[in-house]
C-alpha cells in the first residue's frame, strides 16, 4: 500500500433549497475514490450544514493516486424517494504527490452541477501519506513535477533539458455510447467529466514514466489537449519537455547557498569542461569560480572580449578567437556535430518551450509547420491507440525533416493542435527550427550552471538571428544581408518564429500584435471527397496567411514575428485561418522595405491615380506606424553592410527602392537604393480588397499596446495591476452573401470589433498592455463563427520608465568600470545610435548608460531563472532602497496595509475570500513566485434546458465562464496558492439549440498554481538583512540600511 489518502468533510454553505416545503435541505456527502465510498451523516434542515466528519481513509496504490480524481458528491437526503444530487467536486490530488509542492488541500470548493452550475460551497480537507516504494518496475511516476509554463519555472534552474515527451490515450466518448440514450444528460455529462479526468491522470502518469526513463524529474511546457472525435471516440494527448530541474533555494536564503563549498565543487569541473564557445579564453579555474559566485560583471566583461560572435565592430586586441565571420563555418560544423550527437538518440528533437535559459538558443532558422488531413474512424481497441500515434508520428517526422532542411537539428516552441468537423480532422504541428547549444542536452557531462550560460548570451545577442543554413544552398529564396549588429554573419530580411522574444535580443521601439485572417468557402462533401477538398485548399490558405502576415509586418515597419501561431479551422462549408504573432523590429535585421503597389493596366489614367493614391496611403501608414511604435533604427552607412543577395520572390517582383526616405514621396525612386520594396500587384478586384483590408486594421487607442508573446518588447516597467479575461463572440453569417470576400470581411470585422471592445472595456487601466492575446476560432455550425480570446491586461508606468531603465544600466556601467573597460566600449559603439528613441534624454552623466541599456533585455528581472539574476535583482532593489528613500517607504509598507488586492498571504479558509490572480503569463509583474504548487487541469461540462431563462446564450456562457474561473481560484486557494500562472483555456466548445431551448458547453483549462510574494515585501526582507555577499554584488558605498 504505497499511499493513504485522508479526507475530511468540514462544512457546507449557501446550499440550494432542496425541500420546497421547509425551504431547507437535509444534506449529506459521499466521498469516493476509486471504488471505495464513504458517507457523512445527514445534517438535517440546514443550508449551512456542519458535518465535521471523521477522517475518511483510502488505502490506495500510487498509480491510482495519480489516475483517479477524488470525487465528492453532495446530496439531499430523501426518506421516501431517491436522494437528489446537489452537485459534485472533483479534486485532483496530484499536487500532493510531490515532495515540495502542497502538503494539504484545504478550503471551500464550489459544488458544481452540470445542469445548474455552482450550488453552494463545501469545505474539505485532503491529505496524503506516501510510503516510499523502491520497486523499479512500478507503473506510477509520483514525484515528477509538471508545469504548463513554457519556460524554466522561476524558482528552478535547468540542469539538463532532455527533450520531447508525448503520449496519447483514447477511449469511447460516453456521450456517444448506447447507454446515453437512456440516461439523463446529467449522468452523461458526469460520466464524461469523470472519464476525461481519469484519462488526464493516466496520461500524466504515463508521461511521468517516460520522464523517469530519461532520468528527468519534471515536465515543462506540458500541454494537454483532448479531441472530441464524436462517434469515433475521445482522444486525450499531451506533449511536453522533459527536464531535470534543481530548486533554487528560497530568495531570502539564496545568497549564502550559492557561496557554499558544495556549490563551488560543482562548478569547478564544469569550468574545465571543453566549451566550444569559449575555448579560446585561457582557463583560470579558481578565479572564474569566484567570478561566478560573486560578481557577474567580471564574467560579462571577460566574455565580451573572447566570444566568437562579438558585437563590437572593431576587432579587439588580445582576443583569443577570430571573428565568427571567418570561423563561422568550422565553428558551426563543430557545434552541429556536438549537438547532433546529443540529439541523435532522440526520435524527435522537439522542445515545447518558448523561452530558454540564456545561451541555449544559438541560431533560429524559421517557422516549420506541417498539417495533415485525416478521416476519423472508430477506435476499435482503446488500449492500442496506434492509428492516432502513427498520425502524429508522421507529422512530427515531417517537422523534423523541415527543420533539417533549414540546417537546424532541433525544433523549439513546438506545439500541436487539431481541428475536427464531422469525420474530417486536420492535424497541425508547428515550431521554430533552431540550433541549440549542446551543453544543455548532454546527460551527465554538465552540471548545468546557468551563470555560465548567462555570460555567453551577452556577446551573442544577435546570434540567434544569424542563419543556420548554408547561404549557397538555401532551402528557400531569401534575401541575406550581413547582420546589422555584428556585421559578420548573414541574417535574413525577416524572421518568423513561434517562440518568445529572447530576453537578450536587441529590439528597437515597441512591438505589436499582428494578425492575418482568412476564410475560404468549400463545398460540402462527404468523407473522402471532403478530405481531398480540404487538402487541396490548405496550401493556398497557408500561402495567403503568410502573405498577409508579411504585408502587415511591412506595414508596421517591422522585420520579425515572434509567438507565431497559425490556426486553421475546418467547418462544414468553409475553412478559416487565423495567424497571430507579435511583430518587432530586431536591430540585427535589415530595415524592411516599403510596400509597392503595381497596377496591371498602366495606361488608364484614373486607375493610375487610384494606385498612386493607395500607394500614398500605404506609405503614410508605414510612417505613422513607425512613429507609433517608436521605430527609429540607427542609420547605417551602406558600405558597412555590404550588398544584399537578391533573390526572386514568388509573386513579388524585386524593385530597388529606398524604403525609409520614401515616406513622403509617392513616386518611388526605383533607380537607387539597395533595399527591396515588397510589391503588391493589383491585377483584379480581389487584390484590391486585400490591399484595402490591410489598411483597415486600426492601431489600438493611445495608451494601449498588445502582443501575443509573454512580454511586450520595449516595455519593462510593469506595475502590479493585472486583469486576465476571456471574451467570446459568436456571429451568424447570413447565408445569402456567402462569397469569400464577404466572409473575409465579416471575419475581419469580428476580430477587429472584438479587439476594440477589449480596449474600451479596459480603458480604466491605461496605460496598459494586452499580453499573451490568444485567439481561438471555431466553427460550431454551418453559419456560425466563434472567436474566443484570452489575454491579460497589465498596467505599466509611463513616467517611471526612465528610472527603472536606468537602474540596471547604472549597475552594468559601474560593474564594467570597476572591472574592465571593454564592456563599456561595445555597447557604446553599438547602441548610441538608438539614443534618440529614448523618450526622455537622460542627464549627461548617464548618457552612456542609457544607451548601453537598450541592449539590456526588457523584462529580464521578471524572467530571471538563475541565482545570478537573483543577485542582480537583489542588488537592484537594495540600490533602490538606498537611493530613493521616499519611494521605499511607500513600497515597503507591510503586507496587510489594507490593500486587499496586494494581499500576498495564502488565503485563509474561513475568512473572506482571498484574492487569486490568474494570468496566461509565466510571471506576475512586481512579484516573485516562491513556490509551484502543482498543475491545475480542469474539465467542465455545463448544459441547460432552460436557455432563455438563463439569459440566452450570452447569459449562459457568461455565467459558465465565471464559474470556471471561480472553481480554478478555489482549487488554487485550497492548495495554499494565491495565483495561477501560464493559465490557458484550451478548449471552449459551445453548442446551442435555441429551438429546443438547450445549450451545452465544454471548457478545458489548465495552469500552474503558485505562491507569489510581492517584490516590495522581498525588498523589506532584503534591506533588513543585508549580507556581506549582497553588498559585494552591489556598488560600493551605496548600500545603506
Amino acid at each position: 500500500m504505497p499511499g493513504k489518502l485522508k479526507v475530511k468533510i468540514v462544512a457546507g454553505r449557501h446550499l440550494p433549497v432542496m425541500d420546497r416545503a421547509s425551504d431547507l435541505t437535509d444534506a449529506f456527502v459521499e466521498v469516493k475514490f476509486g471504488n471505495t465510498t464513504f458517507k457523512t451523516d445527514v445534517y438535517l434542515k440546514s443550508l449551512n450544514p456542519q458535518w465535521n466528519s471523521e477522517w475518511f481513509k483510502f488505502e490506495v496504490d500510487d498509480e491510482d493516486l495519480q489516475d483517479e480524481p477524488l470525487q465528492i458528491t453532495v446530496l439531499d437526503h430523501d426518506t421516501y424517494s431517491a436522494n437528489d444530487a446537489i452537485g459534485k467536486v472533483y479534486i485532483d490530488i496530484d499536487p500532493l504527490l510531490y515532495s515540495e509542492a502542497a502538503t494539504v488541500i484545504s478550503g471551500w470548493f464550489p459544488i458544481y452541477d452540470t445542469i445548474h452550475g455552482i450550488r453552494g460551497e463545501i469545505n474539505v480537507v485532503v491529505k496524503v501519506d506516501l510510503f516510499n516504494d523502491l520497486n523499479r518496475f512500478r507503473q506510477s511516476s509520483c514525484g515528477v513535477k509538471f508545469f504548463c509554463t513554457t519556460s524554466i519555472p522561476k524558482c528552478y534552474r535547468a540542469v539538463i533539458i532532455h527533450g520531447f515527451v508525448e503520449e496519447l490515450v483514447v477511449n469511447e466518448d460516453p456521450e456517444y455510447q448506447w447507454i446515453d440514450r437512456i440516461r439523463t444528460p446529467r449522468a452523461s455529462n458526469e460520466a464524461r467529466q469523470r472519464l476525461i479526468s481519469l484519462m488526464s491522470g493516466e496520461l500524466q502518469r504515463k508521461i511521468g514514466l517516460k520522464v523517469l526513463e530519461m532520468r528527468g524529474n519534471a515536465v515543462v511546457g506540458y500541454l494537454q489537449c483532448f479531441d472530441l472525435e464524436g462517434e469515433s471516440g475521445l482522444v486525450v494527448r499531451a506533449i511536453g519537455t522533459a527536464c531535470t530541474l534543481d530548486k533554487l533555494s528560497s530568495p531570502a536564503a539564496f545568497l549564502p547557498a550559492c557561496n557554499s563549498p558544495s556549490k563551488e565543487m560543482k562548478e569547478i569541473p564544469f569550468n574545465e569542461d571543453p566549451n566550444p564557445n569559449t575555448h579560446s579564453s585561457g582557463p583560470s579555474t579558481p578565479l572564474k569560480n569566484q567570478t561566478y559566485s560573486f560578481s557577474p560583471s567580471k564574467s560579462y566583461s571577460r566574455q565580451s572580449s573572447s566570444s566568437d560572435t562579438d558585437l563590437s565592430l572593431t576587432p579587439k586586441t588580445g582576443m583569443g578567437s577570430g571573428s565568427a565571420g571567418k570561423e563561422g563555418g568550422p565553428f558551426k560544423a563543430l557545434l552541429r556535430q556536438q549537438t547532433q550527437s546529443a540529439l541523435e538518440q532522440r526520435e524527435f528533437p522537439f522542445f515545447t518551450l518558448t523561452a530558454f535559459p540564456p545561451g541555449f538558443l544559438v541560431h533560429v532558422g524559421g517557422v516549420v509547420s506541417a498539417r495533415s488531413v485525416k478521416l476519423l474512424d472508430r477506435i476499435h481497441n482503446p488500449d492500442e491507440p496506434e492509428t492516432r500515434d502513427a498520425w502524429w508520428a508522421e507529422i512530427r517526422q515531417e517537422i523534423k525533416s523541415h527543420a533539417k532542411a533549414l540546417g537546424c537539428h532541433a525544433v523549439v516552441g513546438y506545439s500541436e493542435s487539431t481541428s475536427i468537423c464531422e469525420e474530417v480532422c486536420i492535424l497541425s504541428a508547428s515550431g521554430t527550427a533552431a540550433v541549440l547549444n549542446p551543453r544543455f542536452l548532454q546527460d551527465g557531462t554538465v552540471e548545468g550552471c546557468l551563470e555560465q550560460r548567462l555570460e555567453e548570451n551577452l556577446p551573442t545577442r544577435c546570434g540567434f538571428c544569424h542563419i543556420p543554413y548554408d547561404e549557397l544552398n538555401m532551402p528557400f529564396p531569401a534575401h541575406l544581408t550581413y547582420c546589422y549588429n555584428c556585421r559578420k554573419q548573414k541574417v535574413p530580411d525577416v524572421l518568423f518564429t513561434t517562440i518568445d522574444l529572447p530576453t537578450d535580443a536587441t529590439v528597437i521601439g515597441k512591438g505589436c500584435l499582428i494578425q492575418a485572417r482568412l476564410c475560404r468557402l468549400k463545398k460540402k462533401a462527404q468523407a473522402e471527397a471532403n478530405a481531398t477538398a480540404i487538402s487541396n485548399l490548405l496550401p493556398f490558405m497557408e500561402y495567403e496567411v503568410h502573405t498577409q502576415l508579411m504585408n502587415k509586418l511591412k506595414l508596421k515597419g517591422m522585420n520579425a514575428l515572434f509567438g507565431l501561431r497559425i490556426q486553421i479551422t475546418v467547418g462544414e462549408n468553409m475553412l478559416m485561418g487565423l495567424a497571430s504573432a507579435t511583430g518587432v523590429y530586431l536591430a540585427a535585421l535589415p530595415t524592411p522595405g516599403g510596400i509597392q503597389i503595381a497596377g496591371k493596366t498602366p495606361n488608364d489614367g484614373s486607375y493610375e491615380q487610384h494606385i498612386s493614391h493607395m500607394q500614398k496611403k500605404i506609405n503614410d501608414t508605414i510612417a505613422k506606424n513607425k512613429e507609433l511604435y517608436e521605430i527609429n533604427p540607427p542609420e547605417i552607412s551602406e558600405e558597412i553592410i555590404g550588398s544584399p543577395i537578391p533573390e526572386p520572390r514568388q509573386r513579388s517582383r524585386l524593385l530597388r527602392s529606398q524604403s525609409e526616405s520614401s515616406d513622403e514621396v509617392t513616386e518611388l525612386d526605383l533607380s537607387h537604393g539597395k533595399k527591396d520594396a515588397f510589391v503588391l500587384e493589383i491585377d483584379d478586384t480581389d487584390a484590391m480588397e486585400d490591399v484595402h483590408s490591410l489598411l483597415t486594421d486600426v492601431p489600438p487607442p493611445s495608451g494601449f499596446y498588445s502582443c501575443n508573446t509573454e512580454i511586450m518588447p520595449g516595455i519593462n516597467n510593469w506595475t502590479s495591476e493585472i486583469q486576465m479575461f476571456t471574451s467570446v463572440r459568436v456571429i451568424r453569417l447570413s447565408s445569402l452573401n456567402l462569397t469569400n470576400q464577404a466572409l473575409n470581411k465579416n471575419f475581419n470585422d469580428l476580430c477587429e470589433n472584438l479587439l476594440k471592445s477589449l480596449y474600451f472595456k479596459l480603458r480604466s487601466m491605461i496605460p496598459c498592455c494586452l499580453c499573451h492575446v490568444n485567439f481561438t476560432v471555431s466553427l460550431p455550425e454551418d453559419e456560425l463563427i466563434q472567436v474566443t480570446v484570452t489575454a491579460v491586461a497589465i498596467t505599466f508606468d509611463k513616467n517611471q520608465a526612465l528610472q527603472t531603465t536606468k537602474t540596471p544600466v547604472e549597475k552594468s556601467l559601474q560593474r564594467a568600470s570597476t572591472d574592465n573597460e571593454e564592456l563599456l566600449q561595445f555597447p557604446l559603439e553599438l547602441c548610441s545610435d538608438s539614443l534618440p528613441s529614448h523618450p526622455f534624454p537622460p542627464a549627461k552623466e548617464h548618457l552612456e548608460s542609457a544607451s548601453s541599456n537598450s541592449g539590456i533585455p526588457a523584462a529580464q528581472r521578471d524572467r530571471c531563472s538563475s541565482w545570478i539574476e537573483l543577485i542582480k535583482l537583489k542588488a537592484q532593489t537594495i540600490r533602490r532602497g538606498s537611493i530613493k528613500t521616499t519611494m521605499t517607504v511607500e513600497k515597503a509598507s507591510p503586507v496587510g496595509d489594507g490593500n486587499f488586492r496586494n494581499r500576498s498571504a495564502p488565503p485563509c479558509a474561513n475568512s473572506t475570500v482571498g484574492v487569486v490572480k490568474m494570468t496566461p503569463l509565466s510571471f506576475i509583474p512586481g512579484a516573485k513566485i516562491t513556490k509551484y504548487l502543482g498543475i491545475i487541469n480542469m474539465f467542465f461540462i455545463r448544459e441547460t434546458t432552460s436557455l432563455r431563462e438563463e439569459g440566452g446564450v450570452s447569459g449562459f456562457l457568461h455565467a459558465f465562464i465565471a464559474e470556471v474561473f471561480a472553481m480554478v481560484r478555489a482549487h488554487v486557494a485550497a492548495l495554499g496558492g494565491n495565483a495561477v500562472v501560464s493559465y490557458i483555456m484550451k478548449q471552449c466548445v459551445f453548442m446551442e439549440n435555441p429551438n429546443k431551448n438547450q445549450a451545452q458547453c465544454l471548457i478545458n483549462v489548465s495552469g500552474d498554481a503558485v505562491v507569489f510574494v510581492r517584490e516590495s515585501d522581498l525588498e523589506v526582507v532584503s534591506s533588513q538583512q543585508p549580507t556581506t555577499n549582497c553588498q559585494s554584488s552591489c556598488t560600493e558605498g551605496e548600500v545603506t540600511t
Binding site: I118, V728, D749, S757, K761, V913, G951, S954, R969
Partner: protein, 350 residues
C-alpha cells in the same frame, strides 16, 4: 452578420459605476446606450456605438447575475463566483440599497410587501422613476425589513450611509403610520425620517433597555399605555388653567402672536394631550402624524405663528408642567413631550 453571443469575463469582475447607476435607475440597454452616447463617451474614447452597446449589455448581464447576491449582502462577501475587491463590493451594496426620496415618500408607512404592480405603476408615473427601479427599491425595503441580517456588514465597514433612513422606513412600515393624506403632502421624507429617529431613540423598547437591540422597531407598549395618565392635564380644569397661566406669564411680551396663543392655548393643549392618550390603540397610532398636523400645526399656521414663536411656546409649554404641583407623571411627560416637541418643530413649515 448578426451577433449571436458576445461576452467578456474578467478574473476580477469589472464594474462600471456609470453603467451600474443606469442599471439601478432601471433604464433598458437601449436607453442606457443612448444616455452614454449623450455623455460624450464615444468622443472621449474613440469607440463605436456597437462597442458601447456590447459593453453595456455585458455590464447589465453581470449586474443581473449579481442581483441575486445583492439581495443577501453577506452572500456577496462569501461567494466565490465573482472576484470583486471589497471597496467595490461595498459600493455595489451601497448603491443598490440607495433609494430615491420621491419613491420612499410614496411608500412610507405602507406595507413593505412587494406591492402590487398597479401600485408601483402609479408611483412610477407619479414620480417619474422607472418601474424597474421602483421594484428594486421596494424589494430592498422589504429586504431591509425582513432580514436586517445585512447589518453584519458593519463588521466589515461602517454602516452604509442610507442605513438610518432605512431604519425610518422600516419603523414607519412597522407602525403603519399614515403619511399619504393630502394634508401631509407638504412633508418630505426627511421630515419623517427625522421624527422617526427621535421616536426610535425615545419611544421604543430599546430606548429604555440597553440590552435590547437598539434597532427594535416597535414602540414601547407600556409607555403608550401610561400615556393615558397625561389626560389629567386637560381633564382637570384647574390644572389646565394653572398650566395656561404659567405659560402665559412666562411668554408675555416675548411672543409676537401672544394673543392668538392665549386664545388657542386650551385647544392646543387638549390636542397634544389627547394625541398622547389615543396612542393606546393601534389605529390611532397610525394617525399620529395626521393628528399632530390637524391639532397643532394647522391651527398655528392659520394664525401665522413664526417658527421661533412655536419653539418658545413648546419649550415653555413642556417646561411649565414641572411647576404643576398636582401632576405626578413628570418623567412620562418628558419622554413624551421631549420627542414630540422635536417632531413638531420639524413638521412646522409650509
Amino acid at each position: 452578420m448578426t451577433s449571436e453571443l458576445d461576452i467578456f469575463v474578467g478574473n476580477t469582475t469589472l464594474i462600471d459605476e456609470d453603467v451600474y447607476r443606469l442599471w439601478l435607475d432601471g433604464y433598458s440597454v437601449t436607453d442606457a446606450v443612448a444616455l452614454r452616447v449623450r455623455s460624450g463617451i464615444l468622443e472621449q474614447t474613440g469607440a463605436t456605438a456597437a462597442v458601447l452597446q456590447s459593453d453595456t449589455m455585458d455590464h447589465y448581464r453581470t449586474f443581473h447575475m449579481l442581483e441575486r447576491l445583492l439581495h443577501a449582502p453577506p452572500k456577496l462577501l462569501h461567494q466565490l463566483i465573482f472576484q470583486i475587491p471589497p471597496s467595490r463590493q461595498a459600493l455595489l451594496i451601497e448603491r443598490y440599497y440607495a433609494f430615491d426620496e420621491a419613491f420612499v415618500r410614496e411608500v412610507l408607512g405602507k406595507k413593505l410587501s412587494k406591492g402590487t404592480k398597479k401600485d408601483l405603476d402609479d408611483i412610477s408615473t407619479k414620480t417619474g422613476i422607472t418601474l424597474k427601479s421602483c421594484r428594486r427599491q421596494m424589494e430592498s425595503c422589504s429586504v431591509a425589513q425582513a432580514g436586517v441580517q445585512w447589518r453584519d456588514l458593519s463588521s466589515l465597514q461602517p454602516p452604509p450611509p442610507g442605513f438610518r433612513d432605512y431604519a425610518a422606513i422600516v419603523f414607519f412600515a412597522n407602525n403603519r403610520f399614515e403619511t399619504g393624506k393630502k394634508k401631509l403632502q407638504y412633508l418630505s421624507f426627511g421630515d419623517f425620517a427625522f421624527c422617526a429617529e427621535l421616536m426610535i431613540q425615545n419611544w421604543t423598547l430599546g430606548a429604555v433597555d440597553s440590552q435590547m437591540d437598539d434597532m427594535d422597531m416597535d414602540l414601547d407598549k407600556e409607555f403608550l399605555q401610561d400615556l393615558k395618565e397625561l389626560k389629567v392635564l386637560v381633564a382637570d380644569k384647574d390644572l389646565l388653567d394653572l398650566h395656561k397661566s404659567l405659560v402665559c406669564t412666562a411668554l408675555r411680551g416675548k411672543l409676537g402672536v401672544f394673543s392668538e396663543m392665549e386664545a388657542n392655548f386650551k385647544n392646543l393643549s387638549r390636542g397634544l394631550v389627547n394625541v398622547a392618550a389615543k396612542l393606546t390603540h393601534n389605529k390611532d397610532v397610525r394617525d399620529l402624524f395626521v393628528d399632530l398636523v390637524e391639532k397643532f400645526v394647522e391651527p398655528c399656521r392659520s394664525d401665522h405663528w413664526p417658527l421661533s414663536d412655536v419653539r418658545f411656546f413648546l419649550n415653555q409649554y413642556s417646561a411649565s408642567v414641572h411647576s404643576l404641583d398636582g401632576f405626578r407623571h413628570q418623567a412620562l411627560w418628558d419622554r413624551y413631550m421631549g420627542t414630540l416637541r422635536g417632531c413638531l418643530l420639524r413638521l412646522y413649515h409650509d
